[in-house]
């Protein structure tokens, strides 16, 4: 131990209390130093920040850009209508010799998903991760999730995980199916934040997904499936 005064008998809780005292004094020192440097600053006189204005795209152009970006990042895009979701899912799973699927019980498309239970072993993610980590990491070769919206400029799918569709649903299983509605497409991140006023309320976690997990850490060679899904299959509803 580096701390000279901590007896072996003192509990971790007492130690953390002391760490908190240390943190408090660090806080006041840091803030005092910084504040003395900005004293008297006039924040009304800051220079104007001008954003670049991007050309406006039509809906079709946006959809095309979204697909292009995602495909360039190795995602598979399948354009479907809602009634086809079930059959496309069955076919895609069959192609990969996968016979089970993890899904969110009360997600917007749960009826479509449940309709394939005769051909695919469906599991609803209605359990806490705590006692089920092993199973989550080893027993589910594929998962399906919905999405909140998407961004065309970067080919990003925006997920707001919640109690129905937990965060690990789109992360741990090696194949991730995601349903995206082209009606929820925004041109870019800035526009999206403004349109939905995100600053007023953010959930526990928001994640943008723009392809399957990848790395180029070994000699700049791209490899897919670094830690997250090896495959990202986008079911794009475009009506």
């Amino acid at each position: 131990m580096t701390s000279e005064n901590i007896g072996l008998e003192s509990t971790a809780l007492e130690n953390i209390k002391q760490a908190n005292v240390m943190s408090k004094s660090a806080r006041s020192n840091i803030l005092a130093k910084l504040k003395s440097e900005v004293a008297g600053a006039d924040y009304d006189k800051l220079p104007e920040e001008i954003a670049f204005s991007y050309p406006e795209l039509t809906r079709d152009e946006q959809v095309e850009q979204f697909c292009q970006q995602l495909e360039a990042n190795h995602a598979l895009i399948i354009k479907v209508s809602e009634i086809d979701i079930a059959s496309v899912l069955v076919e895609q799973l069959k192609q990969r010799n996968i016979d089970s699927l993890l899904y969110g019980e009360n997600c917007p498309f749960s009826l479509n998903i449940k309709s394939i239970e005769d051909s695919v072993d469906l599991t609803a993610y209605n359990f806490s991760i705590d006692a089920n980590k092993e199973a989550l990491f080893n027993d589910y070769p594929a998962a399906i999730s919905s999405s909140r919206c998407a961004i065309s400029a970067t080919g990003s799918i925006v997920l707001w995980p919640d109690e129905n569709e937990p965060r690990t649903l789109s992360l741990v299983p090696p194949v991730h199916f995601v349903i995206v509605d082209a009606n929820n497409l925004y041109p870019d991140f800035s526009t999206l934040i403004k349109a939905q006023q995100w600053q007023n309320e953010l959930p526990t976690n928001v994640v943008f997904i723009s392809g399957p997990s990848k790395t180029a850490d070994i000699q700049q060679t791209l490899a897919y499936g670094a830690h997250g899904p090896k495959e990202l299959i986008v079911l794009l509803l475009n009506s």
Partner: protein, 493 residues
């Protein structure tokens, strides 16, 4: 800290020692042909990727100016934004800790882990945790600390440090990684197939994510307005570390705070494009609270450690404050002719390359780093590609000045001021200034220099170790021009 009973022992950073050995490191690494070819290849690749990502000069320049102003605004309000960030994080259920030194940060993290009786930590990529040498600190306390970014994992397996802030294992080629895996991973047979290598890493690390007690990550942007921690990554290890273990600890420098959520999109766009030429990274992860009631996963506790470690020193000087605009994209090192040749390890610091040369002196003091700012040809490439327009070459010159200023000169701007001062050198420049101020002394000295040029020594210390000593001309330029003028007149006359 008279009011606390924790008396942590502040030790000199291990990077101070390796930074002091800068010149020897350079000689060593310049002679390593494999290393040089690895860096050359990687830097060419990254420069091409960046170039392809910015096809419109107009857009790039508008974005750079916008992002520079965003960062400058956030720095101008820094103490207030930190308070706002803390308030909102606490409201969201995230606990906030402050550390002035790297040891304080490490101790806070060690204590947080101890409260949960944690034995294993998985780490997402965090350069700030490299800065604090957290792995060493925790391992001394019998806590396993595993790097999970593929590059960091390789570097940790090789018992090395990252040689690049974005691509930590860029100094190794796939043959070297294959050998490293074969030597260190039981049951792995040598293969240079990158998919096989990554597959092996994936198998080992997924098991670790599944069983780790604690996840540790860095932060790319901390949003004051909403109390949100943003993480940029491609692999998914960042999401794993921040989602699967019960306890998530994030650590970051105090300069990473931004005021508004709306500040994030332009910064993110410049960050990923400048770093790897990607329009966006595979994952962009925004964390605003620990697991809420009814949610089925996510950490039960989230903590943020805010680290100063010399940043407030840079903050105190208007010119040097610009150093803190950095968003850690690594473009300056990718474009640096010095970095490309000597590689990332030669610097001996956590942050290598141009940004490393201007930030490390604040972290380690000029005593250990006074050589770093001199290792630049001032070509200006770093300043030209910097997404937030940090005038790196200008700051390099400023740091050179700070390092040769008399130790006692006020105001004292930096720790270790005057550490690079050499009295002989200082005297030479004083004489030089004197000579150049008086035409009489100047002419006299030029006359003597040309007439007694045969007295010029053949050996001039280190200068002539790789060069021939210069010989002054037989006549000064003034004399030559005078002769030419009179000849010209004669001809015309």
């Amino acid at each position: 800290m008279a009011d606390t009973t924790i008396h942590i022992k502040e030790q000199e950073s291990k990077y101070a020692k390796s930074a002091r050995a800068f010149r020897d490191n350079v000689t060593r690494d310049l002679a390593n042909e494999e290393l040089r070819s690895n860096f050359r290849g990687a830097m060419d690749y990254l420069m091409d990727k960046r170039k392809a990502a910015f096809c419109e000069q107009d857009e790039l320049e508008t974005l750079r100016t916008q992002c520079k102003l965003i960062k400058q605004r956030c720095l101008a309000k820094l103490p207030y934004l930190l308070e706002q960030l803390e308030e909102n994080l606490i409201q969201n259920g995230i606990k906030v800790h402050w550390a002035e030194t790297t040891t304080q940060a490490n101790e806070i993290i060690a204590q947080l882990i101890a409260t949960k009786n944690g034995k294993t930590v998985v780490k997402g990529k965090s350069m700030v945790s490299e800065e604090t040498a957290l792995n060493d600190y925790l391992e001394e306390r019998d806590i396993e600390c595993l790097e999970s970014d593929m590059g960091e994992y390789i570097v940790q397996l090789a018992k090395e440090h990252p040689s690049h802030i974005i691509m930590p294992a860029i100094h190794q080629n796939k043959q070297q990684v294959a050998k490293l895996f074969a030597d260190n991973i039981e049951g792995f047979s040598y293969s240079t197939d990158v998919d096989t290598l990554i597959g092996q890493g994936r198998a080992i690390l997924r098991d670790k994510f599944c069983h780790a007690d604690v996840g540790l990550s860095g932060v790319n942007f901390a949003v004051a307005e909403t109390g949100t921690l943003c993480l940029v990554e491609n692999e998914g290890n960042g999401r794993m570390c921040t989602t699967v273990p019960d306890l998530h600890i994030a650590i970051t420098g105090i300069e990473k705070v931004v005021e508004f959520l709306a500040d994030v999109p332009p910064l993110l766009s410049l960050l990923t494009r400048s770093a790897t030429g990607q329009a966006i990274s595979t994952y962009f992860n925004m964390i605003t609270s620990p697991r809420k009631k009814g949610e089925k996963d996510g950490p039960k506790e989230v903590h943020l450690v805010l680290l100063d470690n010399g940043r407030s020193q840079a903050f105190a000087d208007e010119e040097l404050r610009q150093t803190l605009q950095c968003i850690r994209c690594g473009a300056c090192m990718n474009h640096c002719p010095v970095y490309t040749r000597i590689g990332g390890h030669a610097y001996g610091t956590v942050y290598p390359g141009p940004i490393g040369k201007i930030i490390s002196p604040h972290m380690l003091g000029l005593e250990a780093t006074s050589n770093l700012p001199t290792a630049s040809s001032l070509c200006g490439a770093c300043g030209e590609v910097c997404p937030v327009k940090i005038p790196i070459p200008k700051i390099l010159l400023r740091l050179r000045k700070e390092s040769v200023k008399p130790k006692s000169e006020h105001p004292l701007v930096m720790k270790g001021q005057g550490a690079g001062r050499n009295n002989v050198e200082a005297l030479v420049w004083k004489v030089w200034a004197l000579v150049h101020k008086s035409p009489f002394i100047y002419n006299l000295s030029m006359w003597s220099l040309t007439r007694f040029r045969f007295l010029m020594p053949k050996k001039l210390g280190p200068w002539t170790s790789v060069r021939i000593a210069p010989t002054p001309a037989a006549k000064t330029l003034h004399e030559k021009l005078k002769t030419r003028k009179s000849q010209h007149k004669l001809k015309r006359g």
